[in-house]
Subunit: 219 residues, 2 copies
DNA sequence: TTAAGGCTTCAGAGTTCTTTCAGAGAGGCG
DNA sequence: CGCCTCTCTGAAAGAACTCTGAAGCCTTAA
């Protein structure tokens, strides 16, 4: 009952090194050299764990992570990020990663974290709260006070999560489009989703617009 | 303008070691030995940065972190977590921490991360103050003493910022028009916005007219 | 293949901000 | 005290920004 690990890493030597070591640790390893292949591989046989390099040509780690979660992958995802790229780590968690290791890494570190993730299993339900709302990242639902669960679509959840990560801090349309749409969208799309969130979240209003700047979460 | 750091750590030797080293690094250090005291200390003088041990008797680091954020603390929070406690790190970030260091840590690591956070924080949420007013450049709001937040429009904020950059220094209409309107406007526009700021900022008056010259900020 | 739901864009309505003007008000000087 | 200049303010037109309904496209599920 070995955990199946999928390694996604474009650098062949690193990939092989990981592969070798994780196999030696008793994991059932498969690997992919880019984002597209990773998604295909995950489609074929859902891995229990994924080791994902953030920086890759083509579909990058964040995008892969997002897609995996959208497809219902619930296992642990360990990101490999560049040193000091704090933003990567945060975006990684936003995209649905569970933990990360900074490159260059000690292989023991990766092994230890994977074991931890595997132990933790898939019963994890990450949630974030602010004021009287709680967003369940596992099920894309929000609870507000005593009100029953409100179901969100993928985009709605992504935007709400972005706002909840930094409450009382303005998020510009550009920043949101960068984070959620990878820069490819009309600014108005943010307004559209803010409107939907406002309607779904009900009263009293939580999302405040700061004219000329963007939107922010505030109780 | 040293960054004020609050250290929250129940283990006295570790706390003293941190305190000594961070002071040597030029931080303005205060410390607390448990969660309750930490919140009280943060209440008294809002720190720019917080170093927070996750594992503490009573109110633990995660709870403290959450409370601090709820209270509007916007500075960087660095968590100290136990090795292999992956859940702690993730929950820490979810609770609002900005980064973490694994125990046992090298003091250099802590110092480096704090500097990084201090740098990041300063351009994420910049604020400038003079007398009893504080202008939040991120949200275009002003707070005056105990009064609630006053929202400014883009032009109002630009003008107030200009005045606050050099308090007690006269800014001529031409200079203001040059800086804010790129030279394309009637001098009277400045009067118009000074009037609005005066009304919004209330009593006692802060913007003084220097007849024949311009305006200046003075308590 | 159809149906349903989500995603995105567009255009018009609604709201808020910006700018100008003109006249009232205040200050300084002979 | 009177005059002249500079400053202040209300009103209003115009510009900019935000919000929302509607419609088309795409993906997924049946």
């Amino acid at each position: 009952m070995a955990s199946r690990v999928l390694i996604v890493e474009d650098d062949a030597p690193v990939r092989r090194m990981l592969s070798r070591n994780l196999e030696a640790e008793g994991f059932d390893v498969s690997s992919a050299s880019d984002g597209g292949r990773a998604l295909a591989a995950a489609e074929r046989s859902t891995p229990d764990l994924v080791v994902l390099d953030v920086a890759m040509p083509g579909l990058d780690g964040l995008a892969v992570c997002r897609r995996l979660r959208e497809k219902g992958m619930t296992g642990g995802i360990l990101m490999l990020t560049a040193r000091d790229a704090v933003d990567d780590r945060v975006s990684g968690l936003v995209a649905g990663a569970d933990d990360y290791v900074v490159k260059p890494f000690a292989i023991e570190e990766v092994v230890a974290r994977l074991h931890a993730l595997s132990r933790r299993g898939s019963d994890l339900r990450r949630r974030i709260s602010y004021a009287d709302i709680t967003l369940d990242l596992g099920t894309n639902t929000v609870e507000r006070g005593e009100r029953g669960p409100i179901e969100l679509t993928g985009r709605e959840r992504a935007l709400l999560e972005l706002l909840m990560r930094d409450p009382r801090t303005v998020v510009s349309r550009d920043a949101a489009i960068e984070a959620i749409w990878q820069g490819a969208a009309v600014p108005n799309i943010v307004d559209r989703y803010v409107a939907r969130l406002r309607r779904k979240l009900g009263e009293p209003p939580l999302i405040r617009t700061v004219r000329g700047v963007g939107f922010m979460l505030e109780a």
